[in-house]
Symmetry: C2
Subunit: 295 residues, 2 copies
Amino acid sequence: MGDVLFERLCIIGPGLIGGSIARMARARGDVARHIVTTAKSQASRDRVRELGFADTVAETLAEAVQGADCVVLCVPVGVYAKVMEEIGPHLAPGCILTDAGSTKSSVVRDVRPHLGPGVRFVPAHPMAGTEHSGPDAGFPELFQGRYCIITPLEDTDPGALGKVRAMWERAGSMIETMDPATHDKVVAMVSHLPHLIAFTICSTADDLAEETREAVLKFAASGFRDFTRIAASDIDMWRDIFLNNREALLEMLARFSEDAHALGRAVRYGQAEFIEDRLARGRKIRRGLIERKQA
Amino acid sequence: MGDVLFERLCIIGPGLIGGSIARMARARGDVARHIVTTAKSQASRDRVRELGFADTVAETLAEAVQGADCVVLCVPVGVYAKVMEEIGPHLAPGCILTDAGSTKSSVVRDVRPHLGPGVRFVPAHPMAGTEHSGPDAGFPELFQGRYCIITPLEDTDPGALGKVRAMWERAGSMIETMDPATHDKVVAMVSHLPHLIAFTICSTADDLAEETREAVLKFAASGFRDFTRIAASDIDMWRDIFLNNREALLEMLARFSEDAHALGRAVRYGQAEFIEDRLARGRKIRRGLIERKQA
């Protein structure tokens, strides 16, 4: 066991991600001596007290960050600006501020104006999750074997970067660093676009005439089902992701949409060779994943 | 064990589906006394002889169907017309002709003109599969707990229908009957559109600049991976499905495409409520599957 990383670790938003960080820190003992958290709703704060995965459940944001040497934002990215407005003045100089948001350019945009002197900001994105949400959803192993992407800025303090990296390594994650814009494009393709498609195909099915919809649910096992699994995720989180990774997501949607229409057109005009080429690319990408043991 | 259903069961195309039917019939003993098969390539015929899941491996289609009281077409739907042209004249009066094709209107269109007098045609579609193909891919349990949709025609013989139904029941399937057009719409939505989307998103990823594509493969676990799984399926089979369920597939693609663009537009203009509504529908459909134990 290495040195304890933080004296007072504050987790804003004890949902799936925040609750898993707290539980992981608790289970290891070498991440923080004291874990503080706070949630917007009284019900969530009460539930965290019952579950007992934090040492202190603060009633307000200001109280929660008081004296913390590390604060982790684990709220939907759409409320970062509002949360920062409240906590900015209360962050101690030297405090490390990091986050777990799925978009990074918008996070930098919303956080930076509220950083007081000496606050060390390290944007991060643990690429882990389940379709569940809320204080009950977390578990200490959530981040094991998953990537955590850190997107340091030009002025990010190396000492702070090292500590955030160490926290995620102790959580069991593999660390990658890249710039925020590259991060946003990559996640738009690997995660945000697939989620947009999954949500869409569900609503397309939901609009079908009653009889056909019932049959779709009945025979879902043939492929449709695989798409719905990721469409069960948290609504607030995904609305905010879509709205805060707009440019990259719309670019990837446009590319996908062109490709889908090209394939549709080939179906309409019976262009067998074009179709075969597209199907072969699907297999090639799949094979690439298998070779990388990501399948 | 009930009465043996068929004296001589002929399976045209001993791949994933045909090979699984043969293995299932072998394992049970009450489906057929004698199992005949044939494949287009010498290599496949040799491989089936090595694997030994058929009693006879015929060299030609005509020889294969000779004296069979049940023939099951398990080839890509695009070659049905050609296969029927060859076997039509050799089917014995009273013979039951059935199939395992994923489209049904095109199958009826391609098979009916070649039916000799007394041949009893029962179109069927076992909704089971894996991403593997070829003589080695099959296994006797493939159809257990899966639906088999039978699409009888107005003039389908009830006795023949009963025997085909019994074969699939013995394979462990749940039987549904519907008309070919309804079948084609339902599978377009539950299976063909999801496959078209999965193949497309893979080719979209494949077109990305080298660096981004590598990152996509690396971080695929966040949703993209779930789409690639179904994109590994057999190319000939899927080309033929797309081309032979054109109308229904293009209709479902158009609906999906409108919905994806509507969601993209809401992202562009920051319409949070519209986005939330779509996300909520995704969860609703997913919940519907869980309630039906189809998740």
